[in-house]
Amino acid sequence: MENKKVNLKDVVKVTYLTPQNAHFEEKNSFLSFKGTVLKPDENYVYTETEVEYKRVFLQRNFPHDQLEKYISVLDEDNVEIGIISDISLFDEETANMLKRELHRKYYILKITQVYSVKEKYGFSYWKAKTESGDVSFTLHDTSRSITKVGEDRLFISDVDANRYEIESFTALDRKSRKCMELYI
């Protein structure tokens, strides 16, 4: 008997959404989906099934480093319908639609300058400039609230779960870097 090696991808059933099997539409600033996906029956046998959802949500699988790749498409109950491996596979109109939906889902302000950081009792109070104007926010356990990604990209999450991003720490002005150096 031939002993054929079974690879992981032979066993795993993932629906990768492509222009061939997925169609998205935008209405009321929401995204709807129609397409063919792999669905298991009660015996866990996967078959291609036509589905339609009035509203779907997008979720980045790697929100720190793959902004337009590996995007899960979820239904209202957060059950995955399929994964978009790369937004650029879709035509420009659909790609822009998907990007807009991602923009609605992820509200992360980009910090361009840090005016001041004052620390008191484990809380730090920040005043900063973002692309959408000046902001002030509070961090608890400052070092832990800042996530360093790669060489000098930073993600900040404040006490209220607001998100901020610094695309390049080294590209900030000297004063901003000095304000933050304690926590990096």
Binding site: N28, S29, F30, E42, N43, K54, R55, P63, D77, R100, H103, R104, K105, Y106, Y107, I108, L109, E119, K120, Y121, G122, F123, Y125, S132, G133, S136, T138, H140, D141, S143, R144, D158, V159, D160, A161, N162, R163, E181, L182, Y183
Partner: protein
């Protein structure tokens, strides 16, 4: 410096922002809506709110207006949404990443009304609840008076939700005030120890004077030689011996004072560190699970051990020493001025320069030592992480990787330490040099006075000794920034824990209740954070003695539900009652002492099997322990161990299998003879046969005892009085096994899936 002073003056004289009243806010928002967009005369405004983001997350100056029968939005002076209240099926607050949205449901579809930053999530959630309540009652929202932000009345700044207080208005003085509360019980001991320090200073000051008498009176004194020649040798010798004796006496006194002082400091130090550690340990135990899990175990251990040690060292060692040095400085300065004020001035002049330099150095070192503290803390966390997961490390053969991870962490710490200490080594002697510039003038002064014979050898020696005394305290004070910085850093970290408001606390009028066993969930909703509720509108009654099985898919909120019963978290909305009393009105000790829980994660403490079982009921008899173990099925394997119940388990102890640990944990829960029994996958890691035997035992035990059990293996719950199926955070189905099977709903699906699985296996 000038900038700082000007800043202080500005802050004193500036007009502090005043919190805005609801009426003012309302008027301000209404003025943003152009008159032609709505008829102010016809439509009565009930509530008006502001928002900051449009449906596409673009910044906007938005106004949300509730009139008698409509909801309208205006963005940047333009009309946007216009909804008839009666057309809406439901309102909801949806949370995304860094943004939340107020949405309404119409014809089965959700449509966005407005969006805001996450800081407003709780507020919009409340608005939704209010709107949905109104829909249910068929009334329209009355004036909604809650402010969108909590504002500090003192400075006008927004108060962060997690702190509850404006940290901007809390100052260092308050923190040292808190520290005083810890130190207060030792105040008399501290005063006495400080007095001993001062006594030591006083004795030290005697030596230069005795030395001067010795040199001028007996070594360099020509009159003395004449007196001896004149036959008065005995008197001279007697006086000489008296001086020597006084020097000897001073040494003895110095020795006695030092011994008493050191013993006192030892006592204060140990008492203080024990008190501090108890306080911080007690606080950590009181903290909610979410607060504890936010910090790493390594970090918490560090707070209890090294941070407390640093603060203790400062209070019991450095603080009295500071007093000692300052006193020495004042006395010596006074002595020097009484000798020659000009010379004293020359010696003192470099001191302010050094003080300014020290202050600048202090501000700088605070930052770098904080950085070093963080690196040290990270290295400890890495170490703890690796050792905790050593089984995983070894089974994956990743020792080298972990070695590199730890090496990297300690190297970073080492680099920072070298940098900091090098800087300190360079700057500290320089500060010392500035300080001692005055000693050159001193040399010139004493030498010139001795040459023109206006100063004796003894006086010169005394003077030089006193001057050297003044440099001692100043030099010590130059090193003070480092000590204070380290202490301040540790103190901040300690108060970060001590000041945290406990998420779950006993009500002032909390009662001790003898539980009968009825548990009622009244419209209970709960979420761990603003990202959404895990449990929504749970209504459930468990009668005394009933066994309720909770089933549902993973992550549906089953464990959360029992955590709420044990009050490890407080509900976000609604209430849980036990025998008709809200559990928030029952003291936590009373509540938990009558609940026995066997959880998914079984943890055994270091100690014997006996200690681990007896943990639940201090003072229990050996017989009770054996009976509990017998009931849980643990007894059979325990008696096979060479040391039976005295077998050491936990860290450095005998390794028990998962099933054995589980049985010990069940015995622990049973020993308490709880009124309410909680079983969270209690028999999940046991083989079918053992599970069956424990199930039979449990069956006898749970009689007349309220039991809530969670199990994925549905056969475990066959004896349940009723089953509650959770789905999407709500109660989807309730009934007996048979009723639910007939219903052919979620439970039916779960049973069928398990049957298929068992066929396969």
């Amino acid at each position: 410096m000038i900038r700082r002073v000007l800043g202080k003056i500005y802050r004193k004289i500036r007009k502090k922002p005043q919190p805005i009243s609801v009426a003012e806010m309302r008027a301000r928002l209404l003025s943003k809506i152009p008159n032609d967009l709505w008829d102010r005369e016809k439509e009565t405004v009930l509530t008006v709110l502001s928002y900051t983001l449009d449906a596409d997350n673009n910044g906007t100056d938005g106004v949300l207006l509730f009139t008698e029968n409509r909801i309208r939005t205006f963005e940047n002076g333009k009309a946007c949404t216009d909804i008839l209240f009666d057309d809406v099926d439901e309102f909801r607050q949806n949370t995304y990443i860094g943004v939340c949205a107020l949405e309404y449901k119409k014809d089965g579809e959700y449509i966005s009304i407005c969006r805001g930053k996450m800081s407003q999530a709780e507020f919009w959630g409340n608005v939704c609840k209010m709107l949905n309540n109104c829909k249910q009652k068929g009334t329209f929202p009355k004036e909604y008076v809650e402010m969108q932000h909590k504002i500090c009345p003192k400075c006008g700044q927004q108060i962060p939700k997690r702190t509850g207080v404006c940290m901007n208005c809390v100052d260092k003085k308050a923190m040292f005030g808190e520290l005083w509360q810890i130190v207060k019980p030792f105040k008399f001991k501290l005063i006495f120890a400080s007095f001993m320090f001062l006594a030591a200073v006083g004795v030290n000051l005697l030596f230069p004077k005795i030395n001067q008498i010795l040199v001028d009176g007996y070594i360099e004194n020509t009159d003395m030689k004449n007196s001896i020649a004149a036959g008065q040798g005995k008197e001279v010798l007697f006086m000489f011996l008296l001086v020597l004796l006084s020097m000897f006496g001073a040494y003895i006194l110095q020795y006695v004072v030092s011994v008493i002082r050191n013993i006192m400091m030892l006592h204060i130090g140990t008492d203080l560190i024990i008190s501090l550690r108890k306080k911080i340990f007690d606080k950590i135990q009181q903290m909610s699970l979410s607060s504890i899990s936010r910090r790493t175990t390594g970090e918490l251990i560090r707070r209890v051990t090294s941070d407390t040690a640093q603060v203790e060292n400062f209070i019991s060692g450095q603080l009295p020493n500071l007093l000692n040095q300052v006193f020495l400085l004042i006395v010596i300065t006074a002595i020097l001025f009484s000798y020659d004020w000009k010379l004293a001035l020359v010696i003192i002049i470099p001191v302010p320069i050094a003080a300014v330099a020290m202050r600048r150095f202090w501000a700088f070192t605070h930052k770098i030592y904080h950085k070093q503290w963080e690196a040290d803390s990270k290295a400890s966390s890495v170490l703890f992480d690796i050792f905790s997961g050593i089984r995983v490390v070894k089974s994956y053969g990743t020792e080298d990787k972990e070695y590199r991870r730890y090496e990297q962490a300690i190297h970073k710490e080492m680099e920072l330490q070298i940098k900091n200490e090098t800087l300190y080594c360079m700057i500290h002697p320089f500060l010392g040099f500035i300080l001692q510039i005055g000693s050159f003038f001193l040399l010139y002064y004493t030498a010139s006075h001795m040459l023109d014979q206006t100063m004796t050898y003894g006086q010169a020696s005394q003077f030089v000794s006193y001057v050297s005394y003044i440099y001692g305290p100043i030099g010590w004070l130059a090193g003070l920034p480092r000590i204070i910085t380290r202490t301040y850093t540790s103190l901040v970290k300690l108060f970060d824990v001590l000041e945290e408001k406990p998420a779950v606390s006993d009500d002032e009028d909390a009662i001790d209740l003898t539980i009968n066993g009825e548990i009622t969930f009244n419209n209970v909703s709960f979420g761990y954070d603003e990202t959404g509720d895990v449990l929504k509108h749970i209504n459930l009654t468990v009668k005394p003695g009933e066994m309720v099985g909770i089933v549902g898919r993973s992550g549906v909120g089953k464990s959360t539900l029992i955590n709420l019963v044990m009050r490890l978290y407080d509900v976000t909305d609604g209430d849980i009652q036990i025998d008709g009393v809200d559990i928030r009105k029952i003291s936590q000790h009373s509540l938990r002492s009558q609940i026995g829980a066997v959880l998914q994660e079984t943890f055994l403490f270091s100690g014997t099997v006996y200690n681990n079982i007896a943990y639940a009921k201090p003072g229990c008899t050996h017989q009770e322990v054996i009976e509990a173990a017998k009931l849980s099925g643990a007894h059979d394997f325990i008696v096979k161990l060479p040391d039976a119940y005295n077998t050491k388990v936990g860290e450095k102890g005998h390794t028990l299998s998962g099933g054995e640990r589980q049985r010990v944990a069940i015995a622990r829960a049973l020993l308490r003879d709880p009124k309410i029994l909680i079983l969270d996958e209690a028999t999940a890691s046991l083989d079918t046969e053992t599970e069956k035997s424990i199930q039979d035992s449990l069956e006898r035990l749970i009689k007349d005892r309220t039991t809530i059990a969670i199990a994925h293996r549905l056969s475990t719950l066959r004896n349940a009085t009723k089953l509650v199926v959770l789905d999407k955070g709500t109660v989807a189905e309730v009934g007996t096994h048979e009723e639910l099977l007939q219903k052919k709903g979620i439970y039916y699906g779960l049973v069928m899936a398990q049957r298929r699985m068992s066929k396969i296996t």
